[in-house]
Symmetry: C2
Subunit: 281 residues, 2 copies
Amino acid sequence: MDFVKKHIVEPGTTVRLKKIATEPDGPFDDKQDAYDFTADTIAKMRDLQYRLYVEGKQSLLIVLQAPDAAGKDGVIRKVFGHLNAQGVRTFPFKVPTEIERSHDFLWRIHQCTPAAGQVSIFNRSHYEDVLVVRVEDLVPKRVWSKRYEMINQFELLLAENGTRIVKFYLHISPAEQLERFKERLDRPEKHWKLNLGDYDARQQWDAYREAYETAFEKCSTKAAPWFVIPADKKWYRNAAVSAIVCQTLEEMDPQFPEVDVDLDQVRKRYEDALAQLDDDA
Amino acid sequence: MDFVKKHIVEPGTTVRLKKIATEPDGPFDDKQDAYDFTADTIAKMRDLQYRLYVEGKQSLLIVLQAPDAAGKDGVIRKVFGHLNAQGVRTFPFKVPTEIERSHDFLWRIHQCTPAAGQVSIFNRSHYEDVLVVRVEDLVPKRVWSKRYEMINQFELLLAENGTRIVKFYLHISPAEQLERFKERLDRPEKHWKLNLGDYDARQQWDAYREAYETAFEKCSTKAAPWFVIPADKKWYRNAAVSAIVCQTLEEMDPQFPEVDVDLDQVRKRYEDALAQLDDDA
């Protein structure tokens, strides 16, 4: 199955999240089938990321956005946890600090974009500045409404410099979210995650949905597409995200660099060093 | 076995690398025994790092130094690759850039020290400024000779702020290094790693050994000890490094934070949300 085609928000189209299922509708026979697929895909992804790292020319930016408990941390652990740590960095964007607030909203983001050869993973992102900021009315509409085009130009800047961008929205239902909140209550080792604010955000579910829909419509571009991933089932979520990242890396087609040393010369140096070693012994 | 005790450079002692074996001398029955031990240790380390991340009070800095092909990349992949990516960052320190050279030698290092809850892994480090810089005579002795105490005070600054520091030297023999260079020659997919400079550095083996010995003697401190790890066998190297990091994390003893919300209140909010969900259905 072509997961990219299935879940991409085609640039220029409108999105109605209510009409997009949070439950998967294929293509796996069962959970185990999905696990096997994901393991294979992750192995491929790992190999491609290694090539990206060694090639040192292109880079990859992965943006994760989602309601609380939808699985951003889970995806980072279960999917991206398998990437080679030397080539990947994860950046959680939380409530801006005083210094961050004293700059424009893209300032702190720009510092975390991936260098050539690298992968950056954003756990939340600059999109919060048209999501929570819009829903909670943290700045006036005349301020946040200008940000969509600023974001598009910023992402184009990165893309033109060799960065591929994929943006994931983990789409869960209010019922599944509540189920996961219950798990946090039921399991004492998860109590540290409890937060009354989680329930406040649920009250704003519709407002967030609308804010997300606007972001997808205005900011799903050819250079930086959005993907809406059915996320009520973790096994499907992980399969789809890994498949899309893998396909993206395949398209980037990173190559080991040409060998720019003279192999005969290296062989000669090796033989000399070996002879030296025997002399010393 | 107490790997910390076995491999630590006791502060204030002198080190003669030639007298320290590069081959392991225990405690494993065979390779498989070491693999099993390492897998168990990594699982413990992973759990402890998760607590460190959630606790958000202390941090860990791991420094890796070694001759070429001694296994810095291998340790990062095989041992630290299992840490949760959200709590760990790897920093390769290469030849300083123009901007970096226009600052003091600790400037670029300081930007990469771990925040509370985080682990930083340095692939090479500020020690290059008393190693390659000394051996290759890149600055005069009066400059580099002052750096040991600067490094000690810098590391103390970090330690006093809640950062544990462990520094590993991966100790391989010239013969084993040459063996690994041969592998790069024999396997075309490793040709991109070939570098004539590797053979030049071998000519300076003794000078590097002396520079390392000085660094260990002057900069193995209580706050930031050096460990010399026999690294001719990858299975022993990985076992020892994971055991020492695991033991360090155990000593740090990170704790899940106290739950500071009223559980009854959360339960009430959950019940309300559930009732609301049923109403909507």
